[in-house]
């Protein structure tokens, strides 16, 4: 948490309502996201109990497992969920766009849009990951055959959770995290983990302060937990008797449908409030204008989606339980690069995010107080355009002469070299900068390419410049220190053992 975010928390306490900490939205919001709220059975290892899912706020599908300890019922749930998820995913396969690469010399195709899964919290991501793990190795033949859609569901859920680990991806978004990025509440981050309390701070009902609404939202009777864990009191007082009644009905073969209906209604009460909150949160986020780089990052998600559908079409094995050494290192490297550029992009897109860097001296905002736009440097062999500008700022300036700075407001590729930094008596600082690039080819700068006197401008050391991909040995050349080359598909080929894996 930055000092500015914390200050915003303090403001929220005093104002009684959550405070914005960004000017724009940094996550992509699909036109038609799939909201998915899973619930698990307490005490069991990721045993599904119920879920509410759908892409239409007015028409959720409720799935339940009347007896979560029953293996067949779990797979029936998986097959029903597969219908929803795979049906949703497939709906993106019709619309393809062309992308030119390699300076326009090559053309490739990618899907014009991609699926987006929204879950209430990181626990929802965890459920998705484990449910993917427990279904993707299943087989449609052999001892315990499952419906063909079950292993496919597992692979899709795994795709989503792997994307979720990728900084800047919006393929699978836990809602509390999306809210945390954009609003500061007057409570602690621990309490922010509860969706209903968070929403209470952002949009308190009439007549309540954010604090009051958040406290009211902690009452599990009116606001059941957003899952995957259920409210223990609900388990003990409602769910357990209803489940027992269902079991008796099955045993005596009487009123099974009615008892199942009762269970459904009980579970619906636990899911519906969260369903409404999720769509409310979606509309709040949608009201924020998207940041300039959001579309670019979503294009990467669309690339990933396109690639994954190609992998599926090509056959091959489900994602391994664990990456081999080379794959793991490569993945880590990719994620580090993604994280850096995600952070830089957000700062460039959003003055409120950039402000964090101004506070630490990695950026400053000031007014252009002097400019020499046509300055030509004649010291070298060739005369070159090197305009100078002076920027006066009240921000603390930590940069030193010689440093290269960039400005989010200036043309791509324009660099500013710090020539001098002068602190004045009135507390302001004047920074003289020499500009290169982004001004056209002649010795007079293209119109508007040099900041004019009076312009308010931001300069920063942050840069999203291209980072070379790391070089890694191929799979076959995995050094012995890292276990040597893995046997072909050793770690991913599902065995009969995997397919049969106990799930009790």
């Amino acid at each position: 948490m930055s000092t500015l975010t914390t200050l915003a928390r303090a403001e929220a306490v005093v104002e009684g309502v959550a405070q914005r900490i960004t000017t724009v939205r940094h996550v992509h919001l699909a036109k038609r996201p799939l909201v998915f709220i899973p619930l698990t059975m307490a005490g069991e290892a990721n045993a599904p109990l119920a879920a509410m899912a759908g892409d239409d706020p007015d028409n959720p599908t409720l799935l339940i497992v009347p007896q979560p300890r029953n293996r067949d019922q779990r797979f029936a749930f998986a097959a029903e969920l597969a219908d929803i998820v795979i049906g949703y995913v497939d709906s993106f396969l019709d619309d393809v766009e062309e992308v030119t690469t390699n300076r326009g010399k090559e053309v490739r195709h990618r899907y014009a849009d991609a699926p987006q899964l929204l879950v209430p919290n990181p626990g929802g991501v965890g459920f998705t990951r484990l449910f993917g793990r427990s279904t993707r190795f299943r087989r449609t033949d052999g001892d315990y055959p499952v419906h063909p859609s079950v292993p496919l569901l597992g692979r899709w859920l795994t795709y989503f959770t792997e994307r979720a680990e990728h900084p800047g991806s919006s393929a699978l978004v836990p809602m509390t995290q999306a809210l945390t990025m954009h609003w500061a509440t007057g409570q602690s981050p621990l309490e922010d983990a509860q969706l209903a309390a968070f929403m209470g701070w952002i949009a308190p009902p009439d007549g309540l302060t954010g604090a009051e609404a958040a406290t009211a939202a902690e009452d599990p009777v009116t606001w059941p937990p957003a899952g995957p864990a259920t409210d223990p009191t609900f388990d003990n007082e409602v769910l357990a008797p209803a489940m027992a009644a269902y079991d008796r009905a099955v045993a005596t073969d009487s009123h099974v449908d009615r008892r199942r209906g009762e269970l459904e209604e009980a579970l619906r009460t636990q899911l519906e409030p969260t369903w409404r909150l999720m769509w409310h949160a979606v509309s709040l986020l949608r009201d924020l204008p998207a940041g300039a780089s959001v579309a670019k990052r979503w294009a990467e998600d669309r690339d990933a989606f396109t690639n994954f559908t190609e992998q599926l079409d090509a056959g091959g094995f489900p994602q391994p339980r664990r990456d081999g050494a080379v794959a793991a290192a490569r993945r880590l490297h990719r994620m580090e690069r993604a994280l850096t550029s995600y952070e830089v992009q957000r700062a460039y897109d959003d003055p409120m995010v950039m402000a964090d860097y101004r506070l630490t001296g990695e950026a400053f905002v000031g007014d252009v107080t002097a400019a020499h736009p046509t300055r030509v440097d004649t010291s070298g062999k060739k005369r070159v355009l090197r305009p100078w500008i002076a920027v006066t700022t009240t921000d603390p300036v930590m940069v030193t002469p010689g440093t290269t700075l960039l400005s989010p407001e200036q043309p791509d590729g324009q660099k500013a070299r710090v020539m001098s930094v002068t602190r004045k008596d009135d507390g302001t600082t004047a920074v003289v900068l020499e500009l290169t690039g982004g001004m056209g080819r002649s010795l007079t700068p293209a119109p508007g390419s040099v900041p004019e006197v009076g312009k308010r401008i931001c300069y920063t050391t942050l840069s999203d410049s291209f980072m070379p991909p790391g070089s890694f040995p191929s799979r076959e050349e995995t050094p012995w220190t890292h276990g040597g080359p893995p046997a072909p598909y050793e770690d991913s080929a599902p065995t009969a053992e995997d397919a049969r894996e106990e799930w009790s």
Partner: protein, 376 residues
């Protein structure tokens, strides 16, 4: 001058002391600076009841599904004289265990006093420690105790002590799953600190009896279901780090007699009921009693202390209620309004706030500049 024991009994009032377990001790060390918690826990006040009575009920309910599953798993591992457990110790931890005896130290009659049960556990375990080369033995449910803030607290015996080749290991059976070698980090951390409480208590017991405390291993055996099945698996968990934390926190906890000296002699949290079963004292008088003992609320209390909702309410407007990191970011300033007023340049900082004030003001300036550009 009344003894500490008498004072604590008066504070608790005419009810049975609440019992400690490894979880409550672990939680206690999570917030060692809180006098309120130290006093209530040392006196054995039933905080759950107290919180409910003053209308800030704690929500630490457990689902019966979780309890059933936990019990079933434990029973499975312990069935037939811990046959399954022994197989795990032999096969997965490669321990060469020949013959093993199994001793259940659970009270038979059920109304043995804790002192007696402790004495029995102690006698058995120290005898075993004396015969270092003796055959392997499993001691189920030994009653241990630990000194907390100068008072002996008995621990619910939720462990197996396993002796092998002259060394004791603490065995904990937990029903959370280990999937592809990974388990919920929070649950593993909780299990590790609880196991460390047992290791420490056993070490102290043996040390008092003149044995080498190091004969209790810092490697504890954690038994959990594997993947999505009911099949148990065992892993060794090194709890040295947890032991160090625990020792440090326990020694840092202000001694209870020093705390009591500061408190009104009449202080009591007596929840003794009248004929109708309702406590005779009013909720308001209990709240007043609570307010007489200083608290140190932090959001972590929500997961570890029954009084959290009350203390949180009391701490409204304090920077600490926003979390430790936030409090530090706000320069350690106590009240939110103060920090904000300093940031907005509406209030001159006190001498000790000067340094923090500079950053706060810079942040305040930025925030004001930026908020003018955002609606809502």
């Amino acid at each position: 001058m009344t003894s500490v024991g008498q004072r604590l009994a008066a504070i608790r009032g005419g009810v049975q002391p609440a019992r400690h377990n490894a979880r409550t001790i672990a939680a206690l060390t999570g917030n060692p600076g809180c006098a309120r918690r130290a006093v209530l826990d040392c006196a054995g006040v039933d905080k759950q009841r107290l919180a409910a009575y003053i209308d800030y009920p704690a929500r630490f309910g457990q689902s019966q599904f979780a309890i059933t599953r936990g019990n079933a798993f434990e029973a499975q591992v312990k069935a037939n004289g811990c046959a399954e457990l022994l197989r795990l110790l032999r096969e997965q931890l490669d321990l060469d265990i020949p013959e093993v005896s199994y001793d259940d130290l659970e009270s038979v009659a059920g109304h043995e006093s804790q002192d007696l049960r402790y004495a029995r556990s102690r006698a058995l375990l120290t005898r075993a420690a004396a015969q270092a080369e003796g055959a392997g033995t499993l001691f189920d449910h030994p009653l241990l105790r630990l000194e907390v803030a100068g008072q002996q607290a008995y621990l619910e015996p939720d462990l197996i002590a396993f002796q092998h080749a002259g060394r004791f290991h603490v065995v904990e059976i937990k029903s959370f799953a280990v999937i592809d070698g990974q388990a919920d980090a929070g649950k593993v951390a909780a299990a590790a600190i609880q196991a460390a409480v047992y290791v420490l208590a056993m070490r102290r017991m043996l040390e008092e009896a003149g044995h080498d405390p190091e004969s209790v291993s810092h490697d504890v055996v954690l038994v959990c279901p594997r993947n999505f099945s009911n099949q148990p698996m065992a892993v060794l968990v090194d709890v040295r780090k947890q032991l160090a934390v625990l020792r440090r926190q326990l020694s840092r906890m202000t001694r209870i007699d020093a705390l009591l000296a500061e408190l009104p002699a009449t202080l009591t949290f007596d929840l003794a009921p009248d004929d109708q079963g309702v406590p005779t004292r009013s909720p308001a008088s209990l709240v007043a009693a609570l307010e007489a003992v200083e608290a140190r609320y932090s959001p972590e209390c929500l997961a570890s202390c029954e009084l959290a909702f009350f203390c949180r309410h009391e701490a409204r407007g304090c920077t600490a209620a926003l979390g430790k990191a936030a409090r530090e970011e706000l320069g350690g300033i106590e009240r939110v309004e103060t920090a904000l007023a300093i940031a907005r340049n509406q209030l001159a900082p006190a001498e000790d706030q000067k340094e923090a004030a500079e950053l706060l003001r810079a942040a305040g300036r930025l925030r004001a500049e930026l908020m003018s550009g955002v609606a809502g």
